[in-house]
């Protein structure tokens, strides 16, 4: 069983964070076990959590039939990928048994809105990650307004 700190160290988005930033972030995450077919977010519902994958495959079904499949340990399911203005815009389904760590959306957005090097590093890395995993969802140019997610 992997710990959240192991998963964060593997994540493109979080691996460049300093220990002090990680210490502030780690307590926010809670471990969820997923079973094949589980739906963890439904498009149109209030966005409560963002997720980081420990293991398993997740299908994010978006509008216009578009979708993203994420399966690498450390893949982060959040912001442009998952929500807009506090509402989930993707339905996330587990295609196999797995584990994710859930972080409350509000707490995470508060963390990245702090004027800290850690918050800036997350937002920079997030753009790189999005380019690699799902460049087509990059519709928002102004990354300084995380509250819109």
């Amino acid at each position: 069983m992997g710990s959240i700190s192991d998963v964060l160290k593997k994540s493109i988005v979080f691996k460049s964070l300093e220990v002090t930033d990680l210490q502030g972030l780690i307590p926010l995450f809670e471990r969820w076990e997923l079973h094949t077919g589980d739906v963890i977010t439904t498009a149109g519902e209030t966005a409560q959590y963002f997720f980081i994958v420990e293991r398993g495959t997740l299908l994010l079904a978006m509008d216009q039939g578009r979708s993203v499949v994420l399966s690498a340990s450390g893949d982060f399911i959040a912001m442009e990928l998952l929500s807009a203005r506090g509402i989930y815009k993707a339905t996330t389904t587990a295609l196999e048994n797995g584990v994710v760590f859930a972080v409350p959306r509000g707490a995470f957005l508060a963390f990245i809105q702090e004027d800290t090097p850690g918050a800036a590093a997350i937002m920079d890395a997030w753009q790189d990650y999005l380019d690699q995993r799902a460049g087509f969802v990059k519709i928002i140019e102004d990354i300084d307004v995380p509250a819109i997610f």
């Binding site: 493109i12 587990a94 295609l95």
Partner: protein
């Protein structure tokens, strides 16, 4: 001795050709440096990108959704792959994965979530990077006849 005569007598033509070549080469180098300057400035502003160059190799070792290796399927999985192949034939070349999943559900495909996952892991179904997915017919044929 003046004019062309003096130029000829003192290697003037050779000197001017060398001079023109030096100036022209200098301008070409200057133009190349200026055209790439934004990349150096970008690295100066975001030094983390330099670190990413070295870590990217490691990330690429982890397959995301594609694999060049043919996955060995059980006979049951092959039969279900054939059912998915039939469903995909009714769709566009670049199809919606959630729609395929829904079609599999209403068509009564057994364990449609996990079997779709097998097709993704075997790279028979692969992303087109625009949010849609494609079917690799060659890989499908190789996989079911393996």
């Amino acid at each position: 001795m003046y004019g062309i005569e003096a130029i000829n007598a003192n290697n003037g033509w050779a000197i001017s050709v060398v001079g023109i070549t030096i100036v022209f080469s200098g301008l070409v180098v200057l133009a190349l440096v200026i055209s790439q300057l934004h990349k150096f400035l970008d690295l100066y502003e975001n030094p983390r990108k330099i670190k990413n160059w070295f870590s990217r190799g490691k990330e690429n070792d982890t397959p995301l959704e594609t694999s060049a290796v043919i996955m060995v399927l059980t006979e049951e999985q092959k039969e279900i792959a054939k059912q998915f192949a039939l469903l995909v034939r009714t769709m566009e070349d670049h199809f919606s994965l959630p729609r395929l999943l829904n079609l599999a559900r209403i068509s009564g495909v057994k364990n449609f979530h996990s079997n779709l996952n097998i097709l993704l892991k075997s790279a028979i179904i692969f992303p087109d990077k625009e949010g849609y997915f494609c079917w690799d017919q060659d890989l499908y044929i190789k996989t079911i006849s393996y």
